[in-house]
């Protein structure tokens, strides 16, 4: 039995400790906001937060998350009002949307550690998140906008 703290809720799951966290989130717990893209930590679709750090859940064993604080896209904010979510909606960032959970989760770590990121900082932070639809320009603009919203008082959990 593995106890997980996900989005401030406690779950007890009976899974193999080597199961990737991604599959526990999606298949066992039904939290399908986090996506499977490659399974080898090369696309970023699966990014979630583990104790505030972005991890690629497709290669993170659930045992690593036992007793730790996990946040998925569903738990980034209570009312979908995280500065990044606001900016994403304002600038109409997604096309197909598949990569966007991972994009937002990676960007959230950037904005937590850097309140005023430059384009170079965004490159460094977001390089692990691929978008086959090519929404990179809008992602970059949305991160800048989210930083501005955050500086003006929007909350970044």
């Amino acid at each position: 039995m593995i106890t997980l703290n996900i989005n401030k809720k406690t779950y007890n799951v009976e899974v193999d400790p080597d199961t990737p966290l991604l599959w526990v989130l999606r298949d066992t717990l039904g939290l399908v906001g986090t996506k499977y893209g490659c399974g080898v930590a090369q696309c970023g679709a699966c990014v979630v937060h583990l104790n505030g750090e972005a991890v690629f859940s497709c290669v993170t064993k659930v045992s690593r998350a036992a007793g730790q604080k996990v946040v998925t896209i569903e738990g980034l904010s209570v009312k979908n009002d995280h500065p990044l979510q606001k900016a994403w909606m304002e600038l109409d960032v997604p096309q197909c949307g598949y990569c966007q959970s991972g994009q937002i989760m990676s960007a959230a770590v950037l904005l937590k550690e850097n309140k005023n990121p430059t384009d170079e900082d965004i490159d460094a932070a977001m390089a692990g998140n691929l978008c086959r639809c090519g929404t990179y320009l809008r992602i970059r603009n949305a991160i800048h906008l989210a930083a501005e919203i955050q500086r003006k008082g929007g909350k970044n959990q």
Binding site: A54, V109, A124, A125
Partner: protein, 211 residues
């Protein structure tokens, strides 16, 4: 007259002593022409043998310049990957402490152990590059440059010679010999590398001559 004679005699003796000392220095420098002592070996239980030391270092050099070591000692701020020195996929950056930046920290993908399967990230609990203020670059270094860098505490992570010896058994160093599926190991066993490493250091940690 006697005083003048005494003065000349003293002058002659001084010249003779000076010439003798100079000759000794010249002869000694010929003996050290091909090797350079790279370390202060006081109190280190070191017996100097430059030929043995340099020969051992050339074995060490083969390992340190192999992909499993050099990939994490790049000349730039992006680690290398694979066996052909390509830049690491997704271009993670070194960061201030060598552990990556923002959502691209090393441990975000590299777990505590290797993951099974081709192309999955290899693992170690402390996956990192050298920090930005002491990059400990291997890539592009000649044997002479690398040897000097390795024994200088200002460029080797503040290590004494004894700590350098112990570094051969560092967990992340040894991980190079357990790199995960699809990756080659260094060109000799860890045991042989360690033997060469210690031989190099304990015989004076000499650097091969610059070419």
């Amino acid at each position: 007259m006697k005083k003048q004679t005494d003065r000349y005699s003293l002058h002659t003796k001084t010249i003779a002593v000076f010439v003798t000392i100079t000759s000794v220095i010249v002869f000694m420098s010929f003996g050290l022409k091909n090797e350079v002592t790279t370390s202060s070996t006081k109190n280190e239980n070191i017996i100097k043998d430059s030929l043995v030391s340099v020969k051992a270092f050339m074995e060490v050099y083969k390992v340190l310049m192999s992909p499993r070591c050099m990939n994490c000692h790049p000349s730039g701020d992006v680690p290398l990957q694979g066996d052909d020195g390509q830049l690491h996929i997704s271009l993670p950056k070194r960061g201030k402490d060598g552990k990556g930046m923002y959502a691209m920290k090393c441990s975000n993908c590299h777990q505590a152990t290797n993951l099974e399967g081709l192309n999955k990230p290899p693992g170690h609990p402390d996956w990192h590059l050298p920090p930005a203020n002491m990059k400990m670059v291997f890539q592009g270094k000649t044997p002479n440059q690398l040897a000097k860098q390795l024994v200088n505490p200002k460029t080797n992570g503040n290590k004494t010679l004894q700590q350098l010896i112990e570094h051969a058994d560092d967990g992340l160093v040894k991980a190079g010999w357990n790199p995960g599926e699809g990756r080659t190991v260094p060109p000799m066993s860890h045991e042989d590398f360690k033997k060469a490493w210690i031989t190099w250091i304990k015989n004076g940690a000499y650097a091969p001559r610059s070419k």
